[in-house]
């Protein structure tokens, strides 16, 4: 079997060789030639003949010997349209001319049908949404998109204005346009691109083939945003723009931006003017890459191209270079700025692209005025100076306008969208902590970009500062489940304040005062919570009060701000042990917060302020007067936080504050004496609210800490209520869970820490109830775990100063 196979193989190989040679023999001489070539081997002869017969069959089917492109039959209808003709075929699909003949007049359109393989089924919804947006794009130099859909074979199609004409490079060659005429056309194209950019649509695939010139000589951009639409589901890197027209950023796989369209416009301009297309997209390959000739210009003699290249040297070259600068920020800030320079070139005015070049300005000026300038060089120079000043001013004003229109609209809306819509939604989504952190970081990047733009207008700066305050709130504000990034929050508040300070004397003075008061009060809160520098906190609050005085009474931000300041003052009083002052400030805050809630019970901030103010008031009385006196205030706190939680079931902040309120009331009752049973009830309530909080964000350290505090208090309350064994069992159960997790291979340090803390809690419970025999081994074990963490450098300073220190002290007092 093998034998015959290999024999067969040898036969085949030889027959292939003879077949190939036979192709060179004219058909009528083949029979004798073959007989000679295969002499004495009839099997070989038969095999070669078989191959020749097969070849004839194949050649008849397709004489060219190549694969034909997609040659599907032309459909008769698409949607409501009758197909009239096929007008084009490309990599993306077919283009048909079609007529809608159900009305009184016949409306001829172009229908572009896209190959289904370029269109993932999952993109359907996006396709529908986006093409509606594209359909709103209406401009004289943009082929109007009317409608679109998906045909019965699943191929998406677009119905658009039928442009009868040629691609612009072909048009330029056929009509033999002069550089001036070319520049005029490109200006029109730039204006159309600008219009689209202002509607937040980028083309993403600008090239001569997508710029048609109709019979009237009007350029019409086709396929606006279509390339992007089809690729949205894919990573854009996978579908790079047509080679040569893609900016380095696009080539590297970045999503398309207006700056990439500007780049492509620069390449188009170059191609149209010179017929040459250097591969400007990739500076590294430029040297090794021969300059290619655009196909449409293939018929032009090399001398023509050479002449054109020389003609372009200088001004137009500078314009192209700026449009095609490798870095986006070095390019024209917008398509309209490119158009402006082209127009300046047409009108022989100094260019922004070379505005720094005084000599250039002078030369330009002389050329323009050469018939009229009769004065001396001095007069001309005086004029030049005047001109260059004007140019600089124009450039600045223009640049500012561009930035405001282009980057700001996009960046602003993006930052806002991220910080408010996305973040708020994420906050109500379980286990989104990491994502929220990323979102905050990205938004912050945008805000910094806004704030650092040299010519950013005041309202944009104000918004950026506002946004940074918001980011700081997300990072470390107490009004929400924050990200625990205190240092970053301080930095953001400081830079927000620096931005706002620049606007202190602007028309926004009163708003700036409010913003800065808000910043100061937040800084004070952070200082109290982290470094405990109470003097600094005090002066920050003083600043906040002063600035509050400058806020207009009608400003809706005033009341929440006043509440917040009173609240933080109360908290400062509590920290300083000035309980009388704290109580007064807290009472004021509670009154103001009640007003706020009456104004709007849906606002989360109002609930937060009301709850925190009530908490501060209860604390002031608890420490200033006594446990029994504070009980009614804590009951009020339980009521307001429960309302908060019930009104916003998805909002974990309300739930967390309710848990803390139950805990505070429970531990207060525990201190009153004789009411340990009631305390157990409150702490059980706190405990019942915990699982949902923990499930929502398992990594939320605040929630984990809260759980542990509640657990310890419950155990203590049970012991006080004469149910010592139950308390022990509660903590033992928790300890078992923690120990198992901590002793699993590869346990994270947090788990070891949890184990140590629970050990200490159980030891404390035994120690408090005089069972030193049980307490001491537990303390010893806790010390071992903490020491292990410390030697590995994993013990936090807070634990070293608090938990670990306390464990060692109690161990020393009790066990030696």
């Amino acid at each position: 079997m093998e034998q015959s196979d290999s024999k067969q193989a040898g036969l085949s190989l030889r027959s292939l060789a003879i077949f190939e040679d036979a192709l060179d023999v004219p058909p009528h001489e083949r029979a004798p030639w073959l007989a000679e070539a295969c002499r004495g081997d009839p099997a070989l002869l038969a095999e070669v003949k078989r191959l020749l017969a097969a070849d004839e069959l194949a050649e008849r089917a397709m004489p060219t010997g190549g694969l034909k492109p997609d040659d599907a039959p032309m459909p008769t209808r698409i949607g409501h349209y009758r197909i009239v003709d096929r007008v084009g075929q490309g990599g993306m699909g077919d283009v048909f001319a079609a007529a809608r003949d159900d009305g009184l007049f016949e409306h001829v359109v172009a229908i572009k049908r896209v190959r289904p393989s370029l269109f993932p089924a999952t993109a359907q919804a996006l396709f529908d949404r986006e093409r509606r947006a594209l359909a709103t794009l209406s401009h004289r130099h943009i082929a109007q998109l009317y409608d679109g859909g998906v045909d019965e074979t699943g191929a998406p199609f677009f119905i658009m204005e039928l442009v009868r004409g040629a691609p612009i490079d072909r048009y330029v060659v056929d009509q033999d346009l002069s550089p001036r005429q070319i520049v005029e056309k490109v200006i029109q194209v730039c204006e159309a691109v600008q219009h689209a950019h202002q509607n937040l649509i980028v083309h993403a695939d600008l090239k001569p083939a997508n710029i048609l010139v109709n019979e009237a000589g009007d350029p019409k951009i086709v396929d606006f945003g279509v390339a992007r639409l089809l690729r949205e589901e894919e990573t854009d890197a996978m579908h790079p723009q047509t080679r040569g027209y893609a900016s380095p950023q696009r080539a590297a796989g970045a999503s398309p931006t207006p700056a990439d369209d500007v780049f492509a416009l620069g390449v188009v301009l170059r191609v149209l003017l010179t017929g040459e297309r250097a591969d400007m997209g990739d500076a590294t390959t430029l040297a090794s890459h021969a300059i290619e000739t655009s196909e449409a210009f293939a018929g032009k003699p090399p001398e023509w191209r050479h002449r054109r290249s020389r003609m372009v040297q200088g001004d137009l070259d500078a314009i192209i270079a700026r449009a095609c600068a490798p870095k986006a920020e070095q390019r024209y800030p917008a398509a309209i700025a490119l158009a402006a320079d082209l127009r300046a070139w047409l009108e022989v005015r100094p260019l922004a692209a070379k505005a720094h070049d005084r000599l250039h300005v002078f030369r330009r000026f002389l050329r323009r005025r050469r018939w009229r300038v009769v004065g001396g060089i001095a007069a001309a120079l005086a004029l030049v100076i005047g001109l260059s000043v004007t140019t600089a001013l124009w450039t600045q004003a223009e640049a500012a306008r561009q930035q405001a229109e282009q980057r700001f609209t996009e960046v602003r809306s993006l930052a806002k969208y991220l910080l408010y819509d996305v973040y708020d939604r994420l906050e109500r989504t379980p286990t989104s902590l990491a994502m929220r952190r990323d979102v905050a970081r990205v938004a912050q990047g945008y805000l910094n970009q806004l704030a650092n733009a040299p010519s950013a207008p005041a309202d944009v700066l104000l918004e950026a500062a506002d946004g940074l305050v918001r980011v700081a709130d997300l990072q470390a504000g107490r009004s929400r489940p924050n990200l625990g990034e205190f240092d970053e929050a301080v930095k953001n508040l400081d830079s927000a304040d620096a931005i706002a300070a620049r606007l202190s004397n602007s028309e926004y003075q009163a708003r700036v005062a409010g913003l800065r008061a808000g910043i100061a009060v937040r800084r004070a809160a952070l200082v109290m919570n982290s470094t405990q520098d109470l003097n600094t906190a005090g002066s920050l609050l003083k600043t906040a009060r002063e600035r509050l005085g400058q806020v207009e009474a009608s400003d809706p931000a005033r009341l929440p701000l006043a509440t917040r300041i009173a609240l933080e003052e109360a908290i400062l009083g509590n920290w300083k042990g000035d309980y009388a002052a704290a109580r007064a400030r807290a009472e004021e805050a509670v009154t103001l917060a009640t007003d706020l809630l009456e104004r709007d019970r849906a606002a989360r901030e109002h609930w937060y302020l009301a709850s925190r103010s009530q908490d501060a008031l209860a604390e002031a009385i608890y420490y200033g007067v006594g446990e029994a006196a504070s009980e009614p205030e804590y009951r009020r706190l339980v009521a307001v936080t429960s309302d908060f939680a019930n009104a916003n079931p998805d909002d974990m902040l309300g739930r967390r504050m309710a848990i803390e309120a139950h805990w505070a009331l429970g531990t207060t009752l525990l201190g009153v004496g004789g009411r340990a049973d009631e305390a157990v009830t409150e702490l059980d309530r706190a405990s019942a609210l915990l699982p949902a909080l923990l499930a929502f964000e398992p990594d939320d350290e605040g929630a984990i800490r809260t759980e542990r505090i509640v657990l310890a208090a419950r155990a203590q309350a049970l012991a006080t209520a004469g149910r010592f064994e139950e308390g022990v069992a509660l903590l033992r159960g928790q300890l078992d869970i923690n120990t198992r997790a901590a002793e699993a291979p590869g346990a994270r340090p947090e788990l070891l820490r949890s184990q140590a803390v629970t050990l200490a809690m159980l030891a404390d419970l035994y120690a408090d109830n005089g069972v030193a025999r049980e307490a001491c081994p537990l303390y010893a074990k806790a010390v071992t775990v903490f020491t292990g963490l410390e030697t590995r450098g994993l013990l936090s300073q807070l634990d070293r100063d608090a938990s670990f220190k306390m464990v060692r002290q109690r161990q020393e007092n009790l066990c030696r």
Binding site: A9, L16, A54, R60, M62, P240, T285
Partner: protein, 188 residues
Amino acid sequence: MIAQGCCRVTELNGQGDKARELSAARDALLRAHYDEFRRVAGRVLNGDAVALKIQPTDLAHEAVIRLSNLDRLEFNGRTHFLSLSARVMRQILIDEIRRMRAQKRQAPPVSTELPQEMGAQAIDLEDLDRALTKLEAVAPDHARLVDRRYFAGLTLEEIAELDGVSVRTVKRQWRAARAWLVAELGAG
């Protein structure tokens, strides 16, 4: 110079034993992109599931576009890369078809356009694969040419340039390979 500017080959190919490093770099490249090829093949198959008629050049173009940032490839780099990947693309396409068939017992035949070119009826891609495997044993150069022409979508001119031979030579070889396949498939 191979695949300059393409897919980091140049970076890996710094100094020293160039040929060895180059082939190691290429293998790494293909390995790194194996999953990508598979996704492309899967999408080609699923995307046109209605007809299940494959235009293998779709596969080739999509693969290379997705893989290697077409516009960053030197011309030689692109064709060379495609040429190197042709066999892999074919293998993956066939694997995907088999996988698809294993999942759906009633999977329709996956046909290809090559038979159209040959003037024969639609043919199952797996049959074509079997025939090509057989041709590989008989005449590996011819089989490789078909892979490159058909699964990588290279033109005969591109192949000639890559191999440094005349277009005429490649055309003759192509016709021979094609005739062999038509005869083989017709007989099967």
